[in-house]
Amino acid sequence: MSAPLLEVESLTKCFGATVAVNAISFRVEPGEIFGFLGPNGAGKTTTIRMLTGLLRPTAGRALLGGFDIVARPEAAKRMFGYVPDEPNLYGKLTPVEFLNFIGDVYGMDGRRKRERIGELLDLFELSSAAGEFLEGFSHGMKQKVALCAALLHEPRIYFLDEPTVGLDPKSARLLKDILRAVTRAGGAVMMSTHIMEIAQGLCDRVAIVDHGRIAAIGTVDELRALRGDATLEDVFLGITGGAPGGTAAGDRLRSIVARSR
């Protein structure tokens, strides 16, 4: 068995007295798409921010390609590409200037950088907008540029936080194809999403986080077998307490709808 590309051990993040992420552990192997599901505020984005070096863990550790993100941040950061939940980019740069900057930061060879930028802009159909400032781009177009930036230096690990938000169906499909190609080539993907169909159709394994802890982890089939439910959505709602049937939230909703009739 090959070494995991991502190894997370007892990772914890506290904001004052609030424990946002509580001693979570998991591994992501080469060739794997790992889904990270959870309700709003469960700790998904905080976990990804710790893994990408944006936040410093309160406890625990994360190894990316064998490099500790805290002890050896530069080496660990060379291993991954990252697309955040909000694609905030440099508004006064054009996509080409922006990707050129990213290529230089990752130390790419000049010729390879030029080829790759051209390929990615064509792939995401951004060539016609290549001379415009990013400040005028829509959310979806910025998301595409952020994806280009993550793919530019051909990393082995990808962290994608809600990557399909804002993308049109064609681009979303393109992204899925790219992620499958990445994992076929031995890369690893960790993505958070709220869209159960994407998680069910794309992810090899899934972790469901709730209140900063991993409540369940396994393949989609393993999770479905846990409760004998038909869909991943049912499993998710059952675990996180959001199922309309039989929960307090469900009772409240039924009572509200009845009153409003």
């Binding site: 944006l54 936040l55 410093r56 530069e74 990252y82 080409v96 050129n100 009153r259 409003s260």
Partner: protein, 543 residues
């Protein structure tokens, strides 16, 4: 009880009621945001103390200066200085307030939400206008009020002068800001949006600069001694002139005495309330259309979109290039440098008035250019990291070492301020008729102070970055504007004292060189300490 069924019609409010509601609620939100941004009580206290120190310095400076002029019998100067002081404030405010009008109305992040609310557009524009005026009242409080109090106090003015002038200086920003808001809204309706947005920033800088140079040219031709000297009259149609005449009349050195003072203040108040509301009401009706059109962006076309991509660059060069492109494409960031160079012009033309009172030496010129450098470092230094805005995640998640980020974040601001200090030093030396070695000393001192001020600003910005701004002009609002500037002034004071001690102890060129060497040592120690702190701040930064 929560309901999902459609509710009945909501209560309708009048335009005035909507304006009042928006002002109160938006002001509350701003106060909360400011308080939460500065939740660190130490920084908040330091900012308040710094503001108080600035207030005290201006008050004392005005009081002592006015007393000195009165004792010297300089009634001409005393009578004409207030109108000039308010003119300087007005011209400076135009530079700032144009950007503010654009930011408040067109770059404001809450505007989409506000325009979607069932609120009349004129009420919305009026609310934004009131909030903009309130923002300017802070500058009035810190810079203008102590000047007025010091002047009136030194001349033993009547008690009636105080409430009258407090009303006058309170409404003063309103008439100015109303004019700028009207011009901005009309420009965005007539001129293509992108051109109008960039053009207004430039107009906001160029018009006051030309006006300033023309006025200072007249000052440079003043003749006579202190007792007969008086500043040329600024244009009588400017509200700043009315306010100046009011102040000098209340002080008993202008024409007309207290009745004239009351008359000029009344005229200012009347003009403000008679002109501002109808003008705003007229233009605000077309604001929504202009706001909608302002999203049309012009493409920057190139035959080969990959033309700029080629050679491999180091991370530092890549980061510095990115920051330089942002600087060149953001006219708001140029104003600080324009302001610093304006001060050089002021020094050159004010030379004729100042030299009889304070004799010119090379060391004084060095301190003057040091002040230009401190002034020119305010925006570049204190915004170096904050300019990353919400894209800061890119720097933190990329494989850059803190020292690489720091080098780029110091190099680009220093390149800007150092250039301004060098140009300013050269101009000042040429204007004062210094020899080449003397000019070198002036330029060197300016460049050294630029490096020191930039490092102080960067250290502050890495400790208290602001990534949630709406336009670059708003990064340095509040305490951010004061603390690093005062830090720079503190270093200038220390280095100026070192120059004076060396000049007193060792005469001639050796004393000058010794002073320069001491300055270099002092600033090197400060730069070493602050950049070390900045590097640690960058390592610890969480986003």
């Amino acid at each position: 009880m929560i309901q999902f069924a459609p509710a009945g019609p909501l209560r309708r409010r009048s335009a005035a009621s909507q304006t009042w509601l928006l002002v109160v609620r938006l002001l509350h939100i701003r106060i909360l945001a400011a308080r939460r941004e500065w939740s660190n009580s130490t920084v908040h206290t330091a900012a308040m103390v710094a503001g108080g120190v600035l207030f005290g310095l201006i008050y004392m400076g005005t009081y002592v200066g006015t007393r000195a002029l009165e004792a010297a019998g300089a009634t001409g100067l005393l009578a004409t200085v207030p109108a000039w002081a308010f003119l300087v404030y007005l011209l400076t405010d135009i530079v700032i307030a144009f950007g503010q009008a654009l930011g408040d109305l067109y770059a404001s992040r809450d505007m989409p939400l506000l325009l979607a609310l069932p609120v009349r557009v004129p009420a919305l524009v009026a609310a934004k206008f009131v909030l903009g005026v309130l923002q300017n009242e802070i500058y009035i409080l810190v810079f203008v009020l102590p000047f007025v109090l010091g002047y009136l106090g030194a001349l033993d003015a009547s008690w009636i002068a105080y409430p009258a002038l407090i009303v006058g200086i309170t409404v003063f920003p309103a008439i100015l800001y109303a004019a700028l808001v009207v011009v901005t809204i009309v420009a965005l309706r007539i001129v293509p949006a992108r051109l109008a947005k960039e053009g207004l920033w430039l107009v906001g800088a160029i018009v006051p600069t030309c006006f300033w140079i023309a006025m200072f040219y007249r000052v440079s031709h003043i003749a006579g001694d202190v007792t007969t000297m008086s500043l040329p009259a600024p244009p009588s149609w400017l509200p700043s002139t009315w306010l100046g005449w009011s102040l000098s009349a209340f002080g008993g050195v202008g024409t007309g005495g207290v009745p004239a003072g009351l008359g000029w203040t009344a005229l200012l108040v009347f003009e403000t309330f008679a002109i501002c509301p109808p003008a705003l009401w007229l233009v605000s009706r077309s604001f929504a259309r202009g706001w909608s059109d302002s999203f049309a962006g012009a493409a920057r076309r190139r035959t080969d979109p990959l033309a700029g991509v080629g050679a491999r660059h180091s991370s530092i060069v890549a980061l510095a290039t990115k920051d330089l492109l942002t600087f060149l494409r953001t006219p708001q960031l140029w104003f600080n440098h324009i302001g610093a160079l304006m001060f050089v012009v002021y020094l050159l033309v004010g030379h004729a008035v100042q030299t009889p009172i304070l004799p010119l030496t090379i060391q004084l010129a060095m301190v003057q250019i040091g002040f230009v450098a401190v002034l020119g470092a305010v925006t570049p230094g204190m915004t170096s990291l904050s300019l990353e805005h919400a894209a800061i995640w890119l720097l933190k998640s990329s494989p850059l070492r803190p020292h690489e980020v720091l080098v780029a974040k110091v190099l680009v601001p220093f390149g800007q301020t150092g250039t301004i200090a060098a140009i300013g030093g050269g101009l000042l030396s040429a204007g004062y008729g210094f020899t080449l070695p003397q000019s070198f000393a002036v330029v060197a001192f300016g460049v050294i102070m630029a490096a020191c001020s930039i490092s102080l600003g960067v250290a502050f910005d890495t400790r208290h970055p602001s990534f949630n701004w709406e336009n670059p002009n708003s990064i340095n609002r509040g305490p951010r504007m004061v603390i690093p500037f005062l830090n720079g002034l503190g270093m200038l004071f220390v280095c100026g004292a070192a120059l004076w001690v060396c000049k007193t102890a060792v005469h001639g060129t050796p004393g000058l060189l010794l002073g320069l060497a001491t300055t270099l040592l002092l600033t090197a120690a400060a730069i070493w300490e602050t950049l070390g702190r900045a590097s640690r701040n960058l390592s610890a930064l969480e986003v």
